[in-house]
Symmetry: C2
Subunit: 422 residues, 2 copies
């Protein structure tokens, strides 16, 4: 079974906007055992949309339209689907009544345009839209003698998602062969993809019934497993068995065995031990704190931090001696150490992390930092949970632009800290 | 003239990866007066890719392929384009020689697969790829009697972008009618789109030769103008005249008259006055500092800040009296005021910004914050440039999830600060 997703809307053919609904729809379709084979993005032209619909009906078993169901002249998905399928549209009296009611409640006069939202394809089921005016439609039909499943969904994600999940997915599930799917996600940081593949492929290749996907990017490797079996328990058992064998092979390299993010894992580990963390950031400028505080309830473990973007701030918040910066440069091992130790001492947290580096675009230009290359980063981590505080330092030479260097510096700091917590 | 972009790669038909090259290509094509009418995303199947190529050649004047030019079995764009166009592929000796040289330099044996990267379509020009092994191709041809411009580009953005800009765009520009395009971008923050449209549409509608696009999202409104005229000077004059009339109408609501970001504008304003800023963040957890420090050379004006995620940190870094938090709650006007004043005084910056709020998902649950709603945010801004420090406070009730509330809180803080700097 293959599917095609057609996203309708001229704004998605500009440099400014992108179809994102299809990612969500794809995940849901994959759950049903359906592969998305084509995605087409097309503007608000009846000819173009009708042609896209014809191509899709020709080549895909399931065709899902997103967008173009509103009340304006540019909303042409109903008309295009009707033209491609050779069906007529008829107004649904219940929808018309509901529209009148909705407008009356808000004391707005209904315009004739709005009525077109009640037009439904002959033979289609209406999909009630609780979050907007345009209902969706679902149709089982034939196109040139072949069986086709067609869904029309509104474009706004907060309307499309519940409509798809609650009304399209269950209908498709009932019509397609029953299938039991289990999934699992393992995550790792900062390991080369080739190394992960070399170590894990001898294992996952033994599990031909489990589909393994390796995704790499932004300093993270994800291993996605999914399995379809005769029962859900059987599918889950296969996925879990493979995941556990991979976990034994990769050991501590795996930071998440059920999909949690690196930030979440660290906060969980700290929370379980009733320990706390404080940060002092120079080149990352608050990105590390921002990542940690993006997680709900992070305040239990993350107590705060300092963004020390100048020598005087490093002295003020972390007690870094100005002479140290003068003699060693702000981007140096001793300063990273002093930042980590200083923020730990000042705040009384269990752990302190200090980051200093050159994020670019220019390299070091002042005093003792002169000539240091863009991408040079020092990370210090102070552990004050033992009898004596201990600080470890890591020096990195990162590549890329300012944004990439900053991100990778936080990723390295978090991963280094996680390994220390183990 | 219409174009279609075909993105080849099965990974873009998963829930995890998306085509983004087409946004870049669309901008470049629009510059040439070409409208992108269709985008097709297709997997690594020769049949599917050939069918997509045929559809595109049938309906679009310009067809641009991205991806599928590498050395693996899954790289099938060359073969599909050849099949759709009814052309044969022939190996280019110069490319083969270059591949051998590249591999020899790295002392790696060349595999037969690699040789397919040298296959070019009959009649196509080779586009040298300085950032990878697979060259691009450009072809002017006919398909069913109609003139067609076809480009094959490698998928990695750092290979595709320079190839498109340096080798495809100039060739298309030379083949298409000459055209002089001028653009301009005005940006505003936190104004309802409907209000911007009501105030500006009577003006921009007078300029029928200028295309106006309003984009809204994440607390920002952008007005994009572009004009094509007989000369570049004429196009620029029309765009500038309209932009200046809109600027007179919207006045200080416009933060950027040439496309700069809100963060950049604030850092520029501070830099020109030789003034500095420090921040104290609770609910935004470093996001404000992170946004400002994302801009190169921000250290000239942004000296640093504190992330005060607990009462003791607010006392430590901003001298907020613990009694004040106990009596008023951490999320309160007096605490926002004390944070702004405290961080300004502690750091000696010209200005201090303090943010405290409830980002959710839970509302206030402790002490005097109990019962305060999610989304309640207080922003304090202290101006210490006059004879006496002055602090202004803004109370907000923001909507949405944690990430949205945090973003909008920083957006409000920056916009409030910009207006104060005016």
């Amino acid at each position: 079974m293959i599917a095609e997703i057609i996203a309708a809307g001229s704004e998605m053919l500009t440099p400014f906007r992108q179809d994102t609904n299809s990612l969500y729809l794809t995940e849901g379709l994959n759950d049903l055992g359906v592969t998305v084979a084509f995605k087409t993005i097309v503007g608000d032209s009846l000819d173009h949309l009708t042609e896209a619909a014809r191509n899709a009906l020709q080549r895909a078993d399931i065709v899902i339209f997103s967008g173009g169901l509103g009340p304006t002249e540019d909303d042409l998905t109903r008309e295009a689907a009707a033209a491609a399928l050779g069906l007529t549209l008829h107004p649904d009296p219940a929808i018309i009544a509901a529209l009148y009611k909705r407008f009356a409640e808000r004391r707005i006069a209904i315009t004739p345009n709005n009525a077109k939202q009640a037009d439904i394809l002959d033979g289609a089921m209406l999909l009630e839209n609780k979050n907007g005016t345009a209902p969706g439609q679902f149709l089982v039909t034939t196109y040139r003698g072949k069986k086709r499943y067609v869904a029309l969904l509104p474009g706004p994600p907060k309307e499309l998602k519940p409509l798809f999940d609650e009304q399209v997915k269950p209908r498709l599930a009932a019509l397609l062969p029953t299938r039991f799917l289990a999934k699992r996600l393992l995550r790792m940081a900062l390991i080369p993809e080739s190394q992960v593949d070399a170590r894990t492929s001898p294992i996952y290749k033994l599990y031909e019934d489990v589909e393994t996907t390796i995704l790499a990017g932004s300093g993270e490797i994800q291993l996605h497993f999914q399995c379809v079996a005769a029962t859900l328990a059987q599918a889950q058992a296969r996925v879990d068995e493979l995941a556990e064998r991979i976990e034994r092979e990769m050991g501590d390299d795996i930071f998440s065995s059920h999909g949690e993010s690196l930030d979440e894992v660290i906060l969980l580990m700290l929370g379980m031990r009733h320990q706390t963390l404080a940060t002092a950031e120079s080149c990352t400028g608050g990105m590390l704190a921002q990542r940690l505080t993006a997680i709900p309830n992070s305040s239990r473990a993350f107590i705060g931090g300092a963004v020390t973007y100048s020598a005087s701030m490093k002295a003020l918040f972390c007690n870094v001696p100005p002479e140290l910066i003068e003699s060693q440069g702000a981007v140096s091992e001793p300063v990273a150490r002093a930042m980590a130790e200083g923020i730990q001492t000042t705040t009384g947290a269990s752990y302190g992390i200090g980051i200093t580096g050159l994020a670019g675009p220019g390299g070091g230009s002042q005093g003792t930092d002169e000539g240091k290359p863009v991408g040079l980063v020092y990370i210090g981590i102070t552990d004050a949970t033992g009898p004596e505080p201990v600080t470890q330092i890591k020096q990195l030479q990162l590549m890329g632009d300012r944004e990439r260097i900053r991100w990778w510096a936080t990723q390295h700091a978090l991963e280094l800290f996680r390994r220390q917590l183990l």
